[in-house]
């Protein structure tokens, strides 16, 4: 780390000021507001608010809808992370085998990352649209009646695919880089010790890829938990019957549609706690485990 020594005591603060201001105005202040608001109850017309302590929280954890949303979020996040990483790893392993066309292949696979989440959601909404979509048409031929606006499971599958699809490119890039960082001689050494392609993959490549995988697991979980709002909003809007109502979406629905600002704020605070935990995990474990 490079260190600069300033003679003027004020200058360093002055140089940091823009960043500090941004952090304060757009993060600390709203977060504090949400924290404060989570202890208040606002009347329906927004005319007055009453301090109610932890009541918003205790209600939250007694609310079956909220607990349902927690479950939905767990299923959704785990599925998105696993699906996005598994597909990306498969593609990365394929790309790693290629010599000449790998560049083109990589470039093409990165494109989905440039698509805005809402548009990605919309794309998949069209593909899976029960009336005009291609997939329901194909599924109908094998006897599956697809209608995600009625069927909660199908609805969940749709949002998982839409959310995972966007993340595949990102994971792919990291996996390709991770694979390229494994010296060829490692796999050659395993090969000359008699290990076939399958054993090389499971005993050498995947263990050496573990730091990348762990990093991506955290990143993907964070993505699935917090950045998938537009995907849900563009496809299912949390429905049917709250089957895809993940926590971030519920914050929005309860706060801006239900106008229950106190509960919405309490939910935000819970989510913030989750983010903090994940960040700590990321720093504690990843920073230490990345280097061999």
């Amino acid at each position: 780390m490079k260190r600069a020594i300033f003679r003027n005591q004020l200058l360093p603060w002055l140089l940091l000021a823009p960043q500090l201001a941004v952090t304060f105005v757009f993060f600390l202040w709203p977060a504090a507001q949400a924290g404060w608001q989570s202890f208040l109850r606002e009347d329906a017309f927004g005319l007055k608010s009453t301090f109610i302590g932890f009541e918003n929280y205790s209600r939250l954890f007694g609310d079956p809808h909220y607990l349902n949303s927690v479950m939905v979020t767990v299923v959704f996040s785990v599925s998105v992370a696993v699906l996005a990483m598994a597909v990306a790893l498969t593609l990365a392993l394929a790309a790693d085998r290629m010599i000449k066309s790998a560049q083109t292949y990589t470039t093409l696979l990165v494109w989905p990352y440039a698509v805005a989440p809402a548009i990605a959601g919309l794309l998949w909404w069209f593909i899976f649209n029960p009336t005009i979509g291609l997939v329901p048409y194909a599924l109908d031929m094998v006897g599956i009646d697809w209608n995600h606006s009625l069927n909660g499971t199908q609805s969940m599958i749709l949002v998982i695919i839409a959310a995972a699809w966007k993340q595949i490119s990102y994971n792919f890039l990291f996996f390709v880089a991770g694979l390229q960082a494994i010296p060829a001689s490692m796999r050659e050494a395993a090969a000359i010790d008699g290990a076939g392609p399958g054993r090389r993959l499971f005993s050498i490549t995947l263990p050496l890829l573990a730091p990348t995988s762990f990093f991506l697991l955290v990143v993907n979980t964070v993505y699935a938990l917090f950045d998938t709002f537009p995907v849900i909003d563009a496809t299912t809007e949390g429905g049917p019957a709250q089957a895809t109502n993940i926590l971030v979406y519920k914050v929005y629905v309860d706060g801006f549609l239900g106008l229950n600002l106190g509960s919405s704020a309490a939910q935000s605070v819970v989510l913030m706690a989750v983010v903090i935990v994940l960040t700590v995990v990321q720093f504690r474990f990843i920073e230490r485990r990345v280097e061999y």
């Binding site: 010296p183 001689s185 490692m186 050659e188 050494a189 395993a190 090969a191 000359i192 010790d193 008699g194 290990a195 076939g196 054993r199 005993s203 050498i204 263990p207 050496l208 573990a210 061999y292």
Partner: protein
């Protein structure tokens, strides 16, 4: 089967685009031999080694190991093993797991597997370090683990890709001796790739010197050093004085060459040599020229003047101008009689044995 080569390389060519990494190389390596592929970087020695190991396929030509053609057989099914330049120790496994990696496939019982791992670790003097993590090893230890991992598989052929180049000089010299005695003990055919001529000379039974994808000469260390087939080989293996001469007599492989300074030299015709207009290059190694002190005389001597002197601790290089010769001669003399005290400009006499003079192709 008497004298069947362990490795038979027949007219192997490897082409990358238009570049010939290896050009029509043929070689027979004997069982139990310590064989070195020596050459500057880019000469094709590593390419050849990788093709023996099955990591690259020849564009043309065939490779057979122990009589079995190797075409289409992947690295994991060949009777070879390899020590990589980077050692390629698996970082997520400890020493024992690294060594046992290949044994897992053989599905030995636990006791037998342990016994073989212990044996391999003992062979490379790593006993007791089995539980050490791969990242907690020094360079020399990593080298030994890589060696143990290869030996434990009891391959017919062990390939070594510049295995000592990452070690410091002292450790490297120690490992050269150890590798050599280990090879004699286990009796496995070793094929070593190196760009270090001293390493090749010190360790090998035979050496193949390679330049630009071609094998220039295959011979025992002493022969290759004393009787290089051409100037390139001579130069690569160490210092050499080159003297121009003219062919004056020829009888079978025996030739006579008239030179300035050394007079009429009787020597042998080198391999792959075509006389062009009767001009012949004669070479003599600097250490085969000896300083004559005081009243000492010799049958073959030359007189001249010291024009330069380089001190190297145990030896001194003298550059000596001989009247009538085009170029000054380099002479290496040990310092036990005070060669390091000969002043520049002093008159000097040197002696040589005629059989140290060799004819070579340009």
């Amino acid at each position: 089967m008497p004298d069947r080569p362990m490795i038979e390389i027949a007219s192997v060519t490897k082409t990358y685009g238009r570049f010939n990494a290896l050009d029509d190389a043929s070689l027979a390596i004997r069982p139990g031999e310590f064989f070195s592929l020596l050459g500057p970087s880019g000469c094709g020695k590593t390419t050849l080694l990788r093709m023996i190991g099955g990591f690259d396929t020849p564009t043309r030509g065939t490779i057979a190991i122990d009589g079995q053609p190797m075409l289409g057989i992947p690295a994991n099914r060949r009777p070879t093993n390899m020590v990589f330049q980077s050692y390629a120790i698996f970082p997520h496994l400890d020493v024992e797991q690294n060594v046992a990696y290949g044994l897992k496939r053989l599905k030995l019982d636990r006791a037998e597997e342990r016994r073989r791992v212990e044996e391999a670790l003992a062979q490379v003097s790593l006993k007791g370090l089995g539980r050490r993590g791969a990242t907690e090893l020094s360079g020399g230890q990593r080298q030994r683990v890589a060696l143990a991992r290869a030996l434990v598989m009891r391959p017919k052929v062990l390939l070594l890709d510049e295995p000592l180049s990452a070690l410091d000089k002292k450790l490297r010299e120690q490992m050269q001796v150890e590798l050599r005695s280990l090879q004699k003990a286990v009796g496995i055919t070793f094929v070593l790739v190196t760009h270090d001529q001293y390493e090749a000379l010190a360790m090998s039974d035979r050496i193949a010197v390679m330049f630009d994808g071609k094998i220039a000469q295959v011979a025992a260390p002493k022969d290759i050093y004393q009787r290089p087939v051409n100037r390139q080989v001579a130069d690569f293996l160490g210092g050499m004085n080159f003297i121009h001469g003219n062919l004056v007599g020829e009888n079978g492989t025996a030739i006579e060459v008239e030179t300035k300074g050394f007079g009429r030299v009787a020597t042998q015709r080198p391999a792959h040599w075509a006389v062009k207009g009767g001009a012949v290059t004669i070479g003599i190694r600097p250490e085969r020229l000896r300083v004559l002190w005081d009243q000492e005389t010799a049958r073959h001597e030359l007189a001249g003047t010291v024009v330069d002197r380089h001190y190297f601790g145990e030896i001194t290089h003298l550059v000596i101008e001989i009247p009538g010769m085009d170029k000054p001669l380099s002479v290496t003399e040990t310092n036990d009689f005070g060669a390091d005290d000969i002043p520049v400009g002093a008159p000097i006499r040197i002696a040589y044995e005629p059989d140290a003079l060799v004819a070579m192709a340009d």
